[in-house]
Structures are given as structure tokens and as C-alpha cells.
Point group: C2
Chain length 387, copies 2
């Protein structure tokens, strides 16, 4: 398998974008990535796109063909991948494998979702289709209720982490203040989080990620041809890991650690020949505040049961041991589901290029993305390095 | 890229299966394929599954995680692919690339769809999501109406092919009589086709493929390790091609030839170092009778404009130049959308193993599958050879 690098990135603003349809979002982000990579679109040999649920949200399946037409890509092969909230990074990994194998030299990889035009019940139901329809959703299960159970179990096992959960939200909101693409630019504090509108105990609305429109794209190229196109620093994919777990929460061996994360991370670290302490910054899947705490433990950044303390002591924000979700994360940058995995990569590439402006992590050399689908059922971890 | 072979296959019956949910279909076909391959399920390193629209049809997205749980596959990486009616073979190609690249040695690839519990309007609308929601479906477009336009245009360019279209249906029904997994076991004739309930001129109900429940799975392995598992003949993947086209019909350069088919076939033939005349049998995507005629021309089996004549003269059934859709095809075996591409491979592998019973094509050595999504917008062609 040969070396592969990211040579172009593009994304839309995230948020409530009533003037942009799914096709418009794809067009904006796709064109930005192609222009950023300085490739001619005729040089793109394949298109991979993550979309979670255009079928229910905009009555649009077959989003790969839509994207190809909108971007004028002719007759190239295209594919849509789906794995709930991990749909975008599933596309990225398939594209990575195809380029690494030698099949293609230059490919376009994106993700997109249009959500905010639907009412809350429709969106909640569409998202719930990522859980088990027969065994969970038929009983009234939604994702806030599942992850609230996880939060309660976590606190049963490891003690009260309510303030640390709230602090994840506060930090991610602070980070988003520095990201022009973020959906929310709103400073909050721990008390505001805890006093928010209740969603599912212990969550208030501030513990939950956002409903968003958005799209993000990257251009991937074999590293040995990448220098033909770009004069920016190459950002090499040095680790790629992918693992899964049962769909239902009832069948899992633990719900306070996600083995899909542990196994995907192990594969990515092994490939990169790195350990968690080598990572300078990470975008992790903060669908709920408790998930961020579990993730930073499962990824090995902090010991099991010590994630909350690390958050409270500032280790996960600027100046700390490892800044987490400098983009603002799903919590404050936004969570257009199919786009999220690619938008995480957008942020890490921007940081490694040294182009993150006021939110730049100093001397960032190695970054990690972690994208989780469903109740920890599909997980992808990628590690990037400035060449 | 190293050689890859199919070492196991399994499928459900196709049809109206009210006692089987999506999970039941996946379980039955998946277990059959694993048992046929004689692999221990712990040896399976990844799962790829095609599903078109579980989201709208059974409120189930994230079908990859469902399948992994149902089949007891633990923490392996899983992925769902979607590209309308080509969803199954998209999964197959991604799996093929991953094994050929050396990433995995043994993978499970399936497809599944549950459709028949829904009323006709719901199913028609769910299928229509494979066309352009904004530019086509909003105007009332459905797939029967699109392909009826294509049939009329074809007859404008090449003359009356009504009897040949009807003969495609007759032949596929005849083939299905010999396939125990087929949905329909019903002999018809040209007059019955033409006198059927009108759907969209010139189509009657007999020109249209079926609404079906079903699942199909295959086990793929690197050829150099395959002999560890199976004592059956290895069926090698000697050609894989994938191409696309615009989503909308209005943007296509022609609607009487699908350039996605032409380009995917060209890639597959080039990789296999074969020409169309080397193919002994083929499963082609007969979503409508006119599509079968266009496909056998686009695949190079017959000259453009000569497909109808070949059908009428018996070249596409047993004893002819190249038996097409010996399974019964989408028309009579059935069309559980996400499963179709894998079920085509099931048929070709069965034929190449010499295990097709009363429908066996004599001395079949090389077979081809052709799977088409939307209005010719996503196409995959695979070529198989008995080693």
C-alpha cells in the first residue's frame, strides 16, 4: 500500500442554511476542495461521498450520482457510503484504500447532509433509523435517550462527571467562537449548560450536538503524484483504522467504553507507528458531552475514568495537553451528519497546514480524527501528519 | 493488486416474504454464504453490504451494523454502500478492492432489501428517490415513466422493438421456471405481455421488474488463501469495472445507450483481457424490458440496434449465443434492490460451478454481471472465471 495525502479541502458554513439545498451544499464544498487542490476536475478519477439519510430528509438517495452531476465529473465511478454518523469517514477510508492500492491517483471525497428544513420530530425519527428499528426504535428509543443512559451508567461506574460534561460543551463553544464556519458563536458557562432545557436526564439541550446543514470535501492523491498539483504542505494519511460493534445497546459488553473506538484506534496507531501521546490535536465525535469524555479515554489520550478530570483541568483546550475539537465539534461547529467525518478532516488539515488563524494549535504536526456511528457501532480513526 | 475469488454464496428465496424482516433475510443469506465457504466466522475480517433504502422502507439505516450483529461478527469493520439499484455490486467492488490490495484476506459481501410490506405508492416513492428529487421527482417522475420515455426514444431511433421487449419478459419468465429461488414461476407469452395492465406506454406490468424481499451474500478471499477453505472450484474475479453518469435524464448525451455501462464494461474487459465474445453467460440489469435490450448492446454482445433481433432469434436464451439472465432476472427472479447485484453474482457463480441444475449453461467457463443504478447513473460490471 502506497502513501496517500490530502491535497485539497473545502467546506460550507455549518448551520441553518435555508437558501441552500443538498445539491447547493455539495456544489459549494466540492468546488472549494477542487480549487484548493489546484486539480483540473478531469483529473479526478473517482468520487466517494458520505450521506446518512437523504432518503428520509430530502427524499434523495443515490447522492453519489447527484454529486457527480453537480460537480461536472462526467462518467467517473461514484459511490455513496453510509454508516450513521460515521458515513463521511467511511467514504474517506474507502477512497484511501483505493488510492493506496494503486487503483486511482486522485479522488474526491465528500460528505453532505440537509436537515434543518424538517421539524424536530422528523429529524429525530430520521436520526433514530441509525439504531435498531425492530428492537430499539419500535420501543420509543431515540439517541438522546440512549446516550443519557450511557451517561448515567458512566457516572455509576466512575462517579459524578456532570461538571466535566458541561465543560466539554463550554470548551467546544469557546473553540467555535474562533471558527468562521461554525454554526454557533455563543459563549456559555457551566451553570448555563446545567440550567438548559432538559432533554433526557442528565442532558440538557447544551449537552447535545446540533441539527445542521452542511457539506465538506477533500481531494486525496497518491503522495508521489501530489506535488504535481499543490504548493501547500502535503498532509499525509499515516494511519487509518476502522472497527465495528453490535447495533443494539443491549448486546454490547460495555457501554462506558466503545470497543469500536478502541479497535479502530489500535489499528490506526499501529499503522502510524505512534502512540496516543504523539498526537498534537484531535477532532473527536462529541454527539453528546458524555461521548467526548468516553472518546478521549478510548483513544488513549487519558486513562479510563480520568477523562473528566482532564477536561476540568483544561487539558483538552488551547494550551492543554491535547486540544480537542478546536473546530467547535459537533456541539458548536455543527453536525450535518454525512459531512461530519469529512469536516473533522477539514479542521485537522487546516491546523496541520498552520492556517487555523485565531484557533491555531502551535506547532501542530500530527492530528487525529475520530468519527462514530450509532451507539458506537461503526468507528473510524484517521491520523494525519504534515510531510 | 492480487487475485481474488468467490469462495461462498448464499441467498434467500426472492419474493413476498411476510414472515421475514430485513434482519431475518440478512441472517438466512449470510449464514448460507458463510457455511458454503466453509470459513469460521471469526476468520471474516470485514463486512460490506448494499442496501438501497432501508431508511424509507423499514426505517432502518446503518444496515451494516445490523448485519454484523445478526451474523455475530464481533468488532470487525462494516460498511453500507448505496447507489440505487447498483448498491449490491458497489459493496462487492469495494470488498474486491480491499482484498486485492492486500488489506484483508477474507471478507463477507452482501445485499438486502425488504419492500413488499409497503403499499405500492410508498414503494414507488422510495424507489423514485434514486432519481433527482429536486429536478425530476418533484415534477412527478417515476422510474416506469423515465424508462418508458427511453423505450419510446429507442423505437424512434431503431424501429419497433415491442415484440422483442415482450420476448425478454417471456424468456426471463421461462428461465425463472427453472430457478427455485425465483419469485415468479409463471409461463407467459408475447400476447400476454402486450395485453397486460398498462403502466406507462409502451410498458405493461409484464415489462417491469418486481417488488421483492430478499438477500444474497458472497464470501470473497484472496485466491492464494482460498484453497484453505473450499473444496469447490474457485471462481476468480477476473474483471471489475465501475463508471457513472449524470443523475438526471435531461443531462445525458444519449438515453438509448448508457455510457456508464459502456465505460464500466470497457474497464472490466480490459482488466480481464477479454472481449464480449468470450463471455459464456451474463446476468444483466433488466429493470424494464427495454433496459435488457440496451444493456446487451452496451455490453458489446450485439451491435447497437441489433439487440432486439438477437432476442427474437433466441440468441439470449438457452442454446443461443449467450444466455442472458438464466436466473430469471429482475423481471422474474425478483428485484430486492440492494440484494440484486449480489444475487446476480450468486447466479453466475452457481453456473460456473456447474451447479445450476435444470438451467445449467453447458460448459460455462466465464460469466459476467451487470448492475445499473438509477437512469444509468451508476454501473458496475464484473467478470468471473472458473479457475
Amino acid at each position: 500500500m502506497r502513501s496517500v495525502s490530502v491535497i485539497g479541502i473545502g467546506e460550507t458554513k455549518m448551520g441553518k442554511l435555508p437558501d441552500q439545498s443538498l445539491r447547493d451544499l455539495i456544489q459549494e464544498a466540492g468546488v472549494k476542495a477542487i480549487q484548493d487542490a489546484k486539480v483540473d476536475k478531469n483529473q479526478i478519477q473517482a468520487l466517494y461521498i458520505g450521506n446518512f439519510n437523504g432518503s428520509q430528509l430530502v427524499n434523495q438517495s443515490h447522492v453519489n450520482a447527484l454529486a457527480s452531476e453537480v460537480l461536472g465529473l462526467g462518467s467517473i465511478p461514484t459511490i455513496r457510503t453510509e454508516g450513521a454518523c460515521a458515513s463521511g469517514s467511511l467514504a474517506f477510508r474507502q477512497a484511501y484504500i483505493a488510492v493506496a492500492s494503486g487503483l486511482y491517483d486522485v479522488v474526491l471525497v465528500g460528505g453532505a447532509e440537509k436537515m434543518t428544513h424538517q421539524d424536530t420530530n422528523t429529524v429525530t425519527s430520521a436520526i433514530a433509523s441509525a439504531a435498531d428499528a425492530e428492537l430499539e426504535v419500535n420501543l420509543g428509543t431515540t439517541f438522546p435517550s440512549i446516550f443519557a443512559m450511557i451517561a448515567n451508567r458512566y457516572m455509576y461506574e466512575y462517579g459524578d462527571v456532570r461538571d466535566a460534561m458541561a465543560t466539554c460543551a463550554v470548551q467546544n463553544h469557546n473553540h467555535a467562537l474562533l471558527n468562521p464556519d461554525a454554526q454557533l458563536h455563543k459563549k456559555i458557562d457551566i451553570e448555563k449548560v446545567k440550567a438548559g432545557v432538559p432533554v433526557a436526564d442528565p442532558f440538557t439541550v447544551y449537552d447535545c450536538s446540533l441539527v445542521s446543514d452542511g457539506a465538506a470535501f477533500t481531494v486525496l492523491a497518491a503522495t508521489n503524484v501530489a506535488k504535481q498539483y499543490t504548493d501547500q504542505p502535503l498532509i499525509e494519511v499515516i494511519g487509518s483504522g476502522h472497527a465495528g460493534d453490535t447495533l443494539t445497546i443491549a448486546a454490547k459488553s460495555s457501554i462506558t467504553t466503545f470497543r469500536a473506538t478502541v479497535n479502530a484506534a489500535e489499528e490506526a496507531y499501529r499503522m502510524a507507528r505512534l502512540s496516543p501521546s504523539d498526537i498534537d490535536l484531535a477532532e473527536v465525535h462529541d454527539c453528546f458531552t458524555i461521548t467526548q469524555i468516553i472518546n478521549i479515554e478510548d483513544l488513549g489520550f487519558f486513562e479510563k475514568g480520568k477523562g473528566a478530570k482532564a477536561v476540568l483541568s483544561g487539558e483538552t483546550t488551547f494550551g492543554g495537553r491535547i486540544p480537542i475539537n478546536t473546530s467547535g465539534g459537533l456541539k458548536a461547529k455543527g453536525h450535518p451528519i454525512g459531512a461530519t467525518g469529512i469536516s473533522q478532516i477539514y479542521e485537522v488539515v487546516t491546523q496541520l497546514r498552520g492556517k487555523a488563524g485565531d484557533r491555531q494549535v502551535k506547532n501542530a504536526q500530527i492530528g487525529l480524527t475520530h468519527n462514530l456511528g450509532g451507539t458506537g457501532a461503526t468507528c473510524l480513526v484517521h491520523i494525519f501528519k504534515k510531510v
